[in-house]
Amino acid sequence: MTNQVPAVAHLRLDPAPTIVGSRCGSCGATYLLRRSACASCGGDDFAAGVDLGTTGVVTTATVVHRGMPGVPTPFTSGVVALDAGGFVRCTLTDAEDPVAAVGRRAVLETGVVGTDAAGTEAVAFTFRVQDIEGAPA
């Protein structure tokens, strides 16, 4: 079986793909990235590896037409407020109209984005924006 690793540490692949983070034990602030202490209250008592789920609401978006060399464009970049707390920067799919995407629900999807010299696959994620009824927009 091909070995797979998440493209970023806040994506957990097993047993099923989900976003993970940490939660401040003092104030409840939620984070996805490695931290020294809580930016909200200064506390350092964190619950780590918290499952933040696969769904949320789009809070902002833009369609990027000019990117770094080698980056295919256009693509939609945005932020999703996860239902279980925390905010994740991501690429959005089915979100060609960024203003219309704001406020809509979005669901995590994953896919292989690269393979290294040892044959290990990197898995990244996007969020697919849903229409009001919950189907892809």
């Binding site: 996805l32 990235l33 990244a124």
Partner: protein
């Protein structure tokens, strides 16, 4: 009450692309111009603060003094993202208020060249995946997991405003760029100095919706400088210089307050609101007292947001403020009559000083064709993501 501070000398080089000059040439030219404007020489200066981003590790301040006068005074080299120049000014003010100087020189300079999207280059990666950075990325994620580049950041900020304010549309952002490009046509120091129509702005190359290329500040080179004094320093100056002095009614620098989505996006609003409120309190003036504002329009979307963040209008009224014509140079509260970052240019380290230079020039009545008649009170605002926000209120 803090000790009063005045600006008694101000200078700005043209902004543009000057491959024949290095950052020290630019800094030296601005510094000498500001000192000459104040009737001072380098041996009168007791503290030097120099803001620069991309050459900061080389000691631009000391290298500048090697060119214009090695006097042994303290030199502070400042980096604070796009608020670097304003932070240098604040460093000079702080040195004076600490009792270490009566006369300080603050310079902002940048030899930016054509650096494009200003992304930090990724270190080369090995042949096998290895986690790196705070997100533990095993490969470059820009464009793969969203975008963290500046055009995307400020476009997202604009989209958030559009989503929350149905009366707003991309047309309003296009209109802001049209305004600032028109304003720069009267500024001989601006990088562009060319008016563009609404349609030209709208139909230019799209960078990140809704910002087209004419709605993104250009990269470029330039420098600006000011001479700062306290009452003792002011007393040493010639009467003609003292008469042109501009008082620093407020000098505020803040970092961003906590917001719950800070990991995922830069908050361009809260940090500006915090700085503006502190500046009005410190200056003892309100937005209704302002005659002109130079604000940080690094992208056209940012300017509309800052109308509200800087309290130039009530919350939710940015569109009506713009549509009223208020921020045009013949409006009730002219904004970015220099052309702003969009058209005057944005050599990072110089920008914060250049905004203060512009306001000082108007308050002195020396802005030539672009003069705002009778200007007595002005504001200069810059925002560096990370974040650092500086607001200066100047009074004549």
């Amino acid at each position: 009450m803090s000790e009063p501070i005045w600006i008694v000398g101000a200078e700005m080089t043209p902004f543009g692309r000057f491959p024949q000059w290095d950052v020290v040439d630019l800094a030296a030219r601005a510094a000498r111009g500001a000192m000459a404007d104040a009737g001072l020489g380098i041996r009168d200066v007791q503290h030097v603060a120099v803001g620069n981003v991309f050459d900061a590790i080389t000691g631009v301040g000391q290298r500048m003094l090697h060119e214009i006068g090695m006097t042994g005074v303290p030199v502070v080299n400042v980096v604070n993202a796009c608020a670097t120049g304003a932070t240098a000014i604040r460093s000079g003010i702080t040195a004076i208020r600490a009792g270490e100087a009566d006369i300080a020189l603050a310079v902002g300079a940048e030899q930016l060249g054509k650096r494009g999207l200003l992304a930090a280059p990724e270190e080369p990666r090995g042949p096998e995946f290895a986690a790196r950075g705070r997100d533990g990325a095993v490969l470059d994620t820009e464009g793969l997991i969203g975008s963290a580049l500046m055009p995307g950041v400020f476009s997202e900020a604009g989209v958030s405003y559009l989503a929350a304010n149905p009366e707003a549309s991309a047309d309003h952002f296009f209109r802001i760029a049209e305004k600032n490009h028109f304003h720069s046509s009267l500024n001989p120091l601006a990088q562009y100095q060319k008016a563009f129509t609404f349609e030209q702005v709208r139909d230019a190359d799209m960078i990140a919706w809704p910002n087209t290329s004419l709605m993104c500040s250009p990269t470029g080179d330039g420098a600006a400088a000011v001479v700062l004094v306290n009452a003792d320093g002011l007393a040493r100056l010639a009467p003609g210089v003292r008469e042109r002095a501009v008082k620093v009614a407020a000098s505020v620098l803040v970092s961003d307050p906590w917001v719950e989505d800070a990991e995922a996006r830069w908050d361009v609003n809260g940090v500006t609101r915090l700085a503006a409120a502190a500046a009005y309190e410190q200056a003892g003036v309100g937005p209704e007292d302002l005659d002109l504002v130079e604000l940080h329009d690094c992208f056209a979307t940012a300017e509309l947001l800052h109308y509200e963040n800087l309290q130039l209008c009530k919350p939710g009224d940015a569109v009506s403020f713009l549509e009223s014509g208020a921020p045009w140079r013949d409006g009730s509260l002219p904004v970015n009559v220099s052309g702003g970052l969009l058209s005057k240019g944005h050599p990072l380290g110089a920008t914060g000083v250049a905004g203060v230079y512009e306001v000082v020039t108007h308050l002195r009545g020396e802005a030539g064709d672009r003069q705002i008649a009778g200007a007595k009170v002005g504001m200069a605002h810059v925002l560096g993501l990370g974040s650092a926000c500086a607001v200066h209120v100047l009074v004549r």
